[in-house]
């Protein structure tokens, strides 16, 4: 009787462990089931033997992706043995030995060009080289599987691009067509300047996007600048996306470039964002050892980048002696280096008695160094604004925009408030409004609809500014812009403007409704007395109160929809100036609080301090408070910065960085709104929004 070939026999046959009998072979020739089994094993065997060799990462060297083992003496991204032998790992010693015996420059692998995860995949066929095209195969997610074609959008980074650069354009890199197997095929163009690329795949109408579960698809581009720049730009791009991957990438950079202080300084800065409180002290101690070994190794003239990194590394690790040493060296030997210019700007600010003196000092600094660091232009712009000097503001804002082009709308709005600059401001705003909808400004992970929603508050503010400017010059279109501003974002200032116009037309009832909408935002500081002054003495206070309550409820409902209400861990602690530890819950004191993150070394945060103090005072009547927090090491610098400005504020230190990490807090100034029980309601709000959102929490917290 003829029998099926057992799976075991089939496996033995195809794994080389035994042969099929003649009877079994004959059976398989006419038994579909067995033939399929046999075919499958043969197929697998053929496929595994056809697997190509795995290669070292293909971003080493230039132009030839397979040149992963550069010859001895090749210049470029070769890792060198660690001169400072303290703390040298076994791996480093082995690699150092390999170099010494002339084997080769050592291959130090790092995260490869990863463009896949999860259910979809964007695969690059062949090397990804700057200035060339590359074929890609996209295996789609379910959401895009039925499309005939999909669009690949990309954000490319060039060597030297900044972190958090919102002006980096996002562009269509290519269109892929679906083949009969359901995959999408096509080509992408890689710009000449690219060292790193980030991709998303979306439907042609931009309403469905494969963001690879938020990680996007990325590639390190072979480029003439070397792998260092690819990795650095990867880190720069990861900072607001994944701290953990950023740290891993930065570690790879330190493995590759162990003598470079920039690599270590960046690593410690990043590690602080991800390690636990328990790890932080030992981590800092380890980095201090590294700092000292670098201090001995880098020599007296290491270049501006290295000197700036040594200064900052010393500051981060709390070594004040080395911090001062490297600051002096940096400013003395490399006075035009961005890090030096930042510090020189701070020094000018400390030395100046008033804004005129400050601007004189900054002018001299500008003549010396030019647009080396944005903080120079920013400090001068704010000083000119405080002086309400249109000429100085125009000059300095143009300089400022060289280093911060993304501030163009803000600058244009300031123009509107300065005599003689209104027309220029209006033109700049109109141009900016048009550019705001450019698809190249749409982030990779946002659909067109979500992008429009995210831009609504900014666009509304611009429409309002244009509306006001047109009204002053009696030009047409003012009402249209105002209506658009209210439609986009029901802001207090837009409603206030509308109320004023309705009063001008004699529509008091309409004006009452509009003014109550404006007054519903506590930041507007519109009181009943204001309402009487605006609407007239005949205002019925009961009607006003009713309108205000209704408007307040609408506003709360709107804002509450976006509330997080996330409980924070109960054991979070902050330290005061004397090092005493306080539980966050105690600091909250049962009331609604705005956590205001700042840094004594951050220009924008220092500029915001007076407004933060004013907010703190305004919150007191409702039982709220501002808790000023810095994640910088505890040092006299913070207290000095507050005292110099005559501010009645006390700062707390997040020495363990637990709170900072819990809030995913980065950059200063930044504001978060908490209720008295330690629930996070709103994360990362602007200073302007903080008060209104705190009021919403105050009103809502009893009912929650």
């Amino acid at each position: 009787m003829e029998r099926h070939v057992t799976r075991r026999t089939l496996r033995r046959s195809t794994t080389g462990a035994g042969d099929l009998s003649i009877a079994q072979v004959e059976h398989a020739t006419h038994c579909i089931s067995c033939a399929r089994q046999l075919a499958w094993y043969e197929q697998l065997r053929a496929a595994t033997s056809a697997l190509p060799a795995l290669a070292p990462p293909n971003v080493v060297g230039v132009g030839n992706s397979t040149l992963a083992f550069p010859a001895v003496g090749d210049e470029g991204d070769r890792e060198m043995p660690d001169r400072a032998s303290r703390g040298m790992s076994v791996r480093t010693i082995v690699r150092a030995a390999a170099v010494l015996i002339g084997v080769s420059a050592v291959l130090v692998p790092f995260a490869s060009n990863r463009a896949s995860a999860g259910s979809s995949e964007l695969r690059f066929v062949g090397p990804v080289v700057a200035g060339a095209g590359v074929s890609v195969v996209y295996a789609p997610t379910m959401a895009l599987a039925d499309e005939d074609s999909v669009v690949v959008r990309a954000r490319f980074r060039a060597a030297g691009d900044r972190r958090y650069d919102s002006t980096l354009p996002v562009a269509q890199a290519g269109i892929l067509r679906r083949d009969e197997d359901g995959r999408f095929l096509g080509g992408l163009a890689i710009p000449e300047s690219a060292v790193y690329g980030l991709f998303a795949v979306e439907s042609v109408d931009a309403q469905r996007i494969d963001t690879n579960f938020g990680a996007l698809f990325e590639v390190l581009v072979e480029n003439p600048h070397g792998a260092r720049h690819s990795l650095q730009q990867k880190v720069n791009d990861l900072l607001d996306r994944s701290w953990e991957v950023a740290v891993e990438t930065q570690r790879a950079i330190t493995r590759r470039f162990p003598e470079d202080p920039r690599a270590w300084q960046d690593l410690f800065a990043l590690e602080q964002e991800v390690v636990s409180a328990l790890q932080l002290d030992s981590l800092k101690a380890t980095h201090r050892v590294r700092l000292h070994s670098l201090d001995e190794a880098v020599g007296p003239a290491p270049g501006g980048d290295a000197a700036g990194a040594m200064f900052w590394y010393a500051r981060l690790t709390g070594d004040e002696a080395l911090e001062q040493k490297w600051l002096d060296l940096l400013v003395d030997q490399y006075p035009g280096h961005p890090r030096a210019v930042e510090q020189r700007t701070i020094q000018v600010g400390v030395a100046a008695d008033n804004d005129r003196d400050l601007l004189t000092g900054l002018e001299e600094l500008w003549a010396d160094v030019g647009p080396a660091h944005n903080y120079l232009g920013q400090s001068a712009v704010f000083a000119a604004l405080r002086l309400e000097d249109p000429d100085l503001f125009r000059v300095w804002s143009d300089r400022y925009l060289i280093t911060r082009p993304e501030a163009s709308l803000w600058v244009a709005r300031q123009f509107l408030g300065l005599a003689g600059l209104e027309d220029q401001g209006l033109r700049r705003l109109e141009t900016g409004l048009i550019a705001m909808s450019d698809d190249e400004r749409r982030p990779l992970d946002l659909t067109r609809r979500a992008f429009e929603a995210s831009r609504a508050p900014v666009k509304a503010a611009v429409h309002l500014a244009i509306s006001k400017a047109l009204r002053r010059t009696d030009e047409s279109g003012s009402s249209t812009h105002l209506a658009r501003a209210i439609d986009l974002d029901q802001s207090s200032s837009a409603y206030r403007e509308l109320a004023d116009r309705q009063i001008e037309r004699g529509s008091i009832d309409l004006a009452l409704a509009s003014l109550s909408e404006a007054a519903a935002d506590p930041a507007s500081q519109i009181t009943v007395d204001t309402a009487v002054a605006v609407l007239g003495p005949s205002l019925d206070r009961a009607i006003w109160q009713g309108a205000l309550e209704e408007a307040g409820q609408r506003r709360r409902d709107r804002i509450e929809q976006t509330a997080l209400r996330t409980p924070l861990p109960l054991d979070l602690r902050l330290s005061d100036d004397l090092g005493r530890r306080h539980e966050l819950v105690d600091l909250l004191g049962g009331g609604v609080s705005v956590l205001a993150y700042w840094s004594p070394f951050c220009g924008p945060a220092l500029e915001a301090l007076p407004q933060i103090e004013a907010l703190a005072k305004r919150l007191v009547p409702s039982g709220g408070r501002v808790i000023l927090v810095t994640s910088e090491p505890r040092s006299p610098a913070a207290g000095t910065a507050l005292r110099e400005r005559g501010l009645d504020l006390e700062t707390y230190y997040d020495e363990s960085r637990e709170l900072t990490k819990t809030l995913e807090q980065f950059g200063t100034p930044a504001f978060h709104v908490l209720d008295g029980d330690g629930n996070l309601w709103f994360r990362d709000v602007s200073l302007d929004e903080a008060e209104g959102k705190a009021a919403v929490v105050t009103a809502s917290v009893d009912g929650w």
Binding site: R11, G16, A17, Y41, P52, P57, L107, A115, S116, V125
Partner: protein
Amino acid sequence: MKSGRQLEEPPSLHDLYRDHAPTLFSIALRLLGSQDDAADVVHDVFLRLHEKPPGDGVDDLGRWLRGAAVRRCWMQLRTAGRRREVREVSANDYASPPSWEHGVDLLHLERGIARLPTKLRVVLVLHHVEGYTHAEIGELLDISTAASEKRLSRAVESLRTYLEGP
């Protein structure tokens, strides 16, 4: 009188490294799943070659180097214990990116191999990818030929489950 072969200039360590290191790296990466560890193994092998070259009995240096690399990998895998992170393989791990061959997406296959338990993966890679016989595998890993066959059989079965999906 010296033979012609003996009169030839012996290849320098640099030449040997250039010629063989990519192959060793590929094997080591498939076995270990870590680029760092694979690079270390390659360098270990060449350090050993430098310090203690093989005797005259070895006439296929490439094979000797591959064997040394496999043994180093195996030692490392055995001492590393059971915990191992599965590294996601991508198209960029190849000098020549893989495509569909024999009706199989090779990248998917590679990922399936990477997910196999260590003992099974090592045997499958050595037998199917590197072409070692079961007897040779037994010698390299210090296991019996039958054990090698059994492990390969289980590896193929696991791989099939992975490739065909749930």
